[in-house]
């Protein structure tokens, strides 16, 4: 009776631990295959185009409006203390340290991550991954490794674009609409933003790039053999990636500060 109860409670825990182990082996295997020839630069560029270039529009749009609303909110808060001149630094620091990496990563998850899970999942269901295996072409090397590399390069570049566009969005609202002095906007950024802020943002964006491509390609790779299974895998990939990004952001911030 007690043993059965313990088993019932323990089974999902064991299943979770097993899945975590499988996820770890998945990413280690992809990196191990990455080191072996043949090196498929064209595949990596194709993925970089898909994850990076094709996400640019949505990232620019999100960044612009985030910067604008941040300036709007910041302006009315800072005005109470007569510190409107610090608006630039408030927008820039929020963007570079937190909002840039996190929001860009969430947008990439929604746009490219979900598509990645669906693509790999359909390849699994239609036996295209098995076909690669039968041709003695390792799917981890051919399919997964280029996505990981593209995520590691693409997401930091998108975050950089996000930061710049967001700061200009803040400028548009703060300086052009609300009348903050342009010189003090830029000066406050120059004096407040330090190298460690930029460095922290880059570090975050690299790790987010890995998290997105890792989780999304893993969920597709091990999808169940049905349309419903693929739908579930895509949902799980987006939800899990988003949650892990937010949790990891907290831990990384607490270490970096």
């Amino acid at each position: 009776m007690i043993i059965k109860m313990v088993e019932r409670i323990g089974a999902p825990v064991v299943a979770r631990v097993e899945e975590m182990g499988r996820m770890l082996l998945f990413v280690l295997s992809a990196f191990a295959w990455l080191m072996r020839p043949p090196f498929r630069f064209s595949h990596m560029l194709k993925q970089l185009h898909f994850i990076g270039y094709k996400s640019t529009f949505v990232v620019v749009l999100t960044a612009g409006f985030t910067g604008m609303v941040l300036a709007l909110q910041g302006y009315y808060s800072l005005r109470k203390f007569g510190s409107e001149g610090l608006l630039g630094s408030a927008v820039a620091l929020s963007m570079i340290r937190e909002l840039g990496p996190v929001l860009a990563a969430l947008m990439v998850t929604a746009r490219a991550g979900s598509a990645m899970t669906a693509e790999v999942g359909i390849m699994r269901i239609t036996e295209q991954i098995d076909a690669l295996d039968t041709m003695a072409i390792n799917p981890m090397q051919y399919l997964i490794a280029p996505k990981l590399v593209a995520g590691l390069i693409g997401v930091p570049l998108l975050v950089a674009i996000f930061d710049v566009v967001g700061i200009y969005g803040g400028y548009l609202v703060g300086v052009d609409l609300l009348g903050v002095n342009a010189g003090s906007y830029w000066n406050s950024i120059e004096s407040a933003v330090e190298w460690k802020d930029v460095y922290g943002g880059i570090l975050k964006s690299i790790s987010f790039g890995l998290i997105i491509t890792w989780i999304c390609s893993y969920k597709g790779y091990y999808t169940r053999q049905s349309a419903e299974g693929l739908g579930t895998a895509t949902t799980e990939a987006v939800v899990l990636s988003s949650v892990v990004i937010l949790v990891w952001d907290y831990f990384l911030t607490s270490v970096l500060l």
Binding site: P38, I122, T126, E127, Q128, D130, A131, D133, T134, M135, A136, I137, N138, Y142
Partner: protein, 251 residues
Amino acid sequence: MIKLIGVEKKLGGQPVLQGVDLAIPAGKLTTIIGRSGEGKSVLLKHMIGLMQPDRGEVWVGDVEISRLSGTRLNDVRKRFAMLFQGAALFDSLSVFENVAFPLREKLRMKGPAVAQRVEEKLEQVGLKGMGHKFPAELSGGMRKRAGLARALVMEPEIILFDEPTTGLDPLMAKSIHDLIMTMQRRFGFTAVMVSHEIPEIFAISDWVAMLRQGKIAAMAPAIEFQRITDPDIHEFISVGGTVVLPGSHMG
């Protein structure tokens, strides 16, 4: 050529293969028949190392592959090609690029040599001039032909066919069967086919084996197989309209 010894496999806790002993003769076309859900495709996937047995051994030539992985397994797989149920063509590539794929990726071939070999295979399977089309633009039969061209292009020693005529009309199914037989006779590769198409398979196969309750119930040359008097086998193969010849009890 391929030998399975005491192969056992459970999927989701359910036993599928329960001690399969099977020897596939080299240079012949062997067809594995059996009811749906008996594990015929699972058996086929064991032969190429896509699945590992829980117990037992799988030999390809003089290499035992059931515990191999990575590069060593890939070395064995270079001897194989496989035509999947849905052909498993890469959606994002044209028919030409699909057939050229193993040449470019495995042999690192480039330029006119690739084009020449791909066009030759497309012509052999009746898809001349179709190279520019994408898998989504092809009918079921044409996809199977393209899959067959991709399987043939590396000139493998062994080709596995997983229900190559599923979902095709009888005429198209016959043309695919004829194509498989013609290619096998022409190039002499070892062919293993999983099929439900009775009685057609007796006309094209050299050997027939039946999987029943996770074991090989019988294996015999195609003509001999039709003489088997075991009631289950008799019932299974006569539903399709085969004339069962009088003869010895086997199985």
